[in-house]
Assembly symmetry: C2
Homo-oligomer: 334 residues x 2
């Protein structure tokens, strides 16, 4: 892999704060880098821009493939920028890990939005995670905030770990569904429903309209059975058509109303404070592993350990403990 030239931290900081999109993109690439030198630089940039973050509303958007996320984001995003707001979308790159495109062929996604100067779309690296949330999505979000974006969409696909990760970094979590497809088949598990702040029945257009209305009633009834959330917000169920644009304004109004209520009752900031703490824990784990694998003695021993484990002569967990002990013994107080 080619080592990229890097700017000084100040170039990234100034560029991001000046809303220079080229630098913003390069700064996101920097924080996504696994190189130790890049990581130190990234931390310096992040710490410097942090006081300029926090002034956006962070919205997570999830739903299984086929539910119409791209079309929804395309139209909903246009509504947001028509309100005079700057929008950043941390989107999923639909190409798979090996980069040969989806089994159904690549989709043209967010065509209008991607041409609009008021919007910034950053596809997440297709690499390490399937759900589209990378380990550095949080940092990318904060960089966008520092660059002055008022609204951040974080798109995620599928149902599972990536939603838990996104829930841990957004203010509002929106689940797109389809009427009539059956909630089981859409991977709607109670855990996900409990996480979301709004459940949107998409594709409520044409012949689907009545089914969408029925689904809305059913879900609204079902949601009443759930214990109320600590922030006393009852998740809303709404219908919309990402294709025709119906219902999008109501969704935007609901998000505004949520934000105002949560700021008033203190939950908005309390939730963000908890999210920052979780960020610290995530980063601790990351730093511990980095230090371990970059340790010279570990580096010298790990290949032998792997060979022994491959041969089946030694237990993987026993070897892990031995290596961690070697690492601990290596560290000298500085």
């Amino acid at each position: 892999m080619k080592k990229r030239n890097r700017y000084s931290a100040q170039v990234y900081i100034d560029g991001v704060l000046a809303a220079d999109r080229v630098i913003l993109s390069q700064a996101i690439t920097l924080v996504e880098s696994a190189l130790p030198s890049d990581q130190m630089l990234a931390e310096e940039v992040m710490s410097a821009i942090l006081p300029r973050t926090g002034d956006s509303i962070r919205i997570g958007i999830t739903g299984v493939p086929g539910v119409g996320k791209s079309t929804f984001i395309e139209r909903f995003g246009q509504l947001v920028i028509e309100e005079g707001l700057k929008l950043a979308v941390l989107a999923i790159d639909p190409s798979s890990q090996s980069g040969k495109g989806s089994i159904l062929g690549d989709k043209t996604r967010m065509e209008v939005l991607s041409m609009d100067k008021r919007a910034y779309i950053r596809p997440s690296p297709s690499g390490s995670t399937l759900g589209g949330v990378s380990a550095r999505t949080r940092e990318a979000m904060l960089l966008c905030e520092a660059a002055g974006f008022d609204v951040i969409f974080i798109e995620t696909v599928g149902v599972g770990q990536s939603e838990i990760a996104v829930k841990g970094m957004v203010d509002f979590f929106l689940l797109l569904m389809l009427a009539g497809a059956g909630d089981e088949l859409q991977g709607i598990k109670k855990g996900i429903i409990e996480m979301c702040d709004a459940l949107i029945i998409n594709k409520a257009d044409g012949e689907n309209k009545d089914a969408a209305k029925r689904a809305k009633r059913e879900y609204a009834n079902a949601l009443h059975l759930f214990p109320s959330k600590e922030n006393s917000w009852l998740p809303q169920v709404m219908t919309c058509s990402g294709l025709e644009g119906d219902g999008l304004e109501s969704i935007w109004e609901m998000i505004q109303s949520y934000k105002n209520k949560m700021i008033a009752n203190g939950y908005f900031e309390a939730n963000r404070a908890d999210q920052r703490v979780n960020w610290m824990h995530d980063h601790i784990g990351y730093l511990l592993e980095s230090s371990f694998y970059q340790n010279e003695v570990i580096d010298k021993n790990i290949k032998t350990a792997m060979a022994e484990i491959k041969s089946g002569n030694v237990s993987a967990i026993k070897k892990a403990r031995e290596l961690v002990q070697v690492f601990m013994n290596q560290i000298q107080p500085n």
Copy 2:
């Protein structure tokens, strides 16, 4: 939380090797425990039983909720035990994290299998992960092998991180799908298709039969477009009816054929060797974080750090680095 009484390591080891199911269940509970003392005991047990593991075929079974996993496992499992084999199923507990049951009500799952003495069903703890794969599923699998089970099913739900985790511990990975539901809607992404060794169109019964056959052809054609795998296995597409039992024997034969071919070309053991190495890496991460959070000085400092981060006065990543540095300085060579 009540602290449980523990046996000595030898009691667990002898009990598991003697196929005592009560002890086996308790040993799995032991490895799932987060208590440091339990973890030391668990490692001792795992290292002792490890030479007695490896003699099973490990089969991952995935598919979105509603695809019929429980029914499939119920019937496929019966076929396996009718072959004279002992079957362990590491299953998903359908109740959600907060333990109030699914939105559609709890299902009665694997009724026949759970009554059969030749099968052992262990629901995964509903706690920490949504996909049903816990951090200790691998250990549970090995304990079952040491207890003499010939076939292990690892059930997982949804599409994402949990499948990657399961792929990392099984020999054969089987994806259940439905005909006509649209592959997009079922969360079938190229990444998952690339992972699976067989794609099974379930519910190929009654009026669905023709659609299932068509879907089989389509997927088989699509799979030909994928680059061939390093083990030179072309993922098979088959239809079956978990409800009526049709097609299950062919699936079992295919898995046998896979196993024989992979043993012959060396992939079977090479894959398991790689999986053991990944296990070591996972455990290293776990041990590093455990050591960190159990460190006395960290324990004393972490609350202040969390308070500072909550107040927003300090960057989470900066504080993480500081704490990791404090930890490093604490460690004395022993």
